[in-house]
Symmetry: C2
Subunit: 281 residues, 2 copies
């Protein structure tokens, strides 16, 4: 039986590309929502899952941080994919004949400059996802309507690529995480420097509490790769933090830092230790 990896979106989505980069010839399984993706891997319906966690332009996918906290899964790898948008339409279409361009709103936003310059008279239409826009354009089959999506989506739906590299910001990457069920025997993916993702809640009204919680890492010369605070809504003055620290939670310095952190903060949860991901076009 194939090794199944859940992702959110339709076939041709950037997440499907990330599945392939992380798991080679595994069978990607499309799910309509992130919730369904987490459930699939948690229940064993799929062996692994791949979800976006952070985009260089749009920031953290906060909803997936919540899913990480509340589902029995752990992070086993990561991958950074450069987002590379193509303009695609049914065969025979040309730039001149286009009237409408459909894509996810964020993708349209990332191509705003290009669209303004090259297709000033075309109406942008927002859709729920990029690959879905490509599929709809293929289904409609008119040369007046194009989609902005990945080259993979163009291939999948038999569309011609009219233009390539539409994104205004060439440095637009999305970071994806590979997930396994918490209890599953699952090997890590990749060979990079080990990294641990964790979350905790600061105790209320303790001056300098954040500084003290970071000291547990600094005093052990452990470097942080990411830090993000979120107000706990309904609890003014309380914050949840998400941290990535270099090192594995199974090794001495990080393990001791985590013990120390538990003395100072609440709800410490390790989301996984995994190799730092590579970046690729």
């Amino acid at each position: 039986m194939a090794f199944r990896v859940a992702f959110q979106g339709e076939p041709g989505a950037y997440s499907e590309e990330a599945v392939q980069r992380l798991f080679g010839d595994a069978a990607p399984q499309a799910h309509p929502t992130f919730e369904a993706v987490f459930e699939a891997v948690e229940t064993g319906a799929t062996q692994r899952a791949v979800v976006p966690i952070e985009n260089a332009v749009f920031g953290s996918v906060r909803v997936n941080y919540d899913h990480l906290r509340t589902h029995a899964v752990r992070i086993v790898g990561e991958f950074q994919l450069r987002i590379h948008h193509c303009l695609m339409a049914p065969e025979g279409a040309s730039l001149d004949g286009l009237e409408v361009v459909r894509s996810h709103q964020q993708a349209l936003g990332q191509c705003r400059g290009w669209l303004r310059t090259h297709l000033p008279h075309v109406t942008p239409e927002a859709t729920p996802d990029t690959a879905g826009a490509a599929r709809a354009v293929a289904d409609a089959g008119t040369s007046a309507v194009a989609a902005v999506a990945s080259r993979r989506a163009a291939d999948r739906y038999g569309l011609s690529v009219l233009a390539d590299g539409l994104q205004d910001d060439a440095e637009n990457f999305t970071r994806f995480l590979a997930l396994a069920a918490e209890e599953a025997e699952a090997s890590i993916v990749g060979t990079g420097r080990p990294k641990t993702s964790l979350t905790f809640v600061l105790q209320e009204n303790v001056p300098g509490a954040l500084f003290k919680s970071l000291a547990v890492f600094a005093l052990r010369e452990l470097d942080l790769a990411k830090i993000e605070s979120r107000p706990l809504v309904g609890h003014p003055g309380r914050y949840r933090f998400f941290l990535d620290v270099y090192g594995s939670a199974w090794d001495e310095p990080v393990a001791r830092a985590l013990d120390h952190l538990r003395e100072l903060t609440q709800e410490v949860q390790v989301l996984g230790s995994y190799p730092e991901g590579t970046t690729a076009d």
Copy 2:
């Protein structure tokens, strides 16, 4: 001449509501993009602007952090608005007759549970924004198509509210910032505890650099209200930080902490000192 405040979106948008909460009877000016909103206030076309900066569920609006850094504007106030979604349709429509519900994808996501329970057979359709969905539903005038948007949008487009409080997470707030041109004489908005927003870049490969940069605040017993790191794409190992610290940049302890921070980090920019905002339904 009216006091003009720029916001992104269409009339009836949640941002327009935030304009009213922050500036009373000012004249809200709708702009299609955040870029246009920042340009309007920077050039003096409007006296102020209001933009969303962070949502409790979806995280920071990273693109607006970039605009804050690159436009000659400063923050003069903030406001937290509870996001309260209504289902609306032309007069005479009922839940039973609905076939399609249109709204911004995030709004549809926030109402997923309610829609599943109450309208399992209805097709959700993503639109670029909530108020635009309401306007389109009013224009179409069929009782088979409803929109999810604010009560304000229902009022504005003459739609009947079929249901109220659709959001699954009652604790969904959006934080809005009030902006003025950097050089404008502009009074701060509100009476809360003073807060300063700033950004800086850590020097490369300095172990414990983040810890030291936070020490400049902790050593002066200044509390942080928010911290967020972003990798500088194309510069592995370098990070930009966004911090909110209690206190005004014009007063001694914060001013000294900022001087100290400039010794340790690069590109320190104060985005504004302003009163902490109130939260409202």
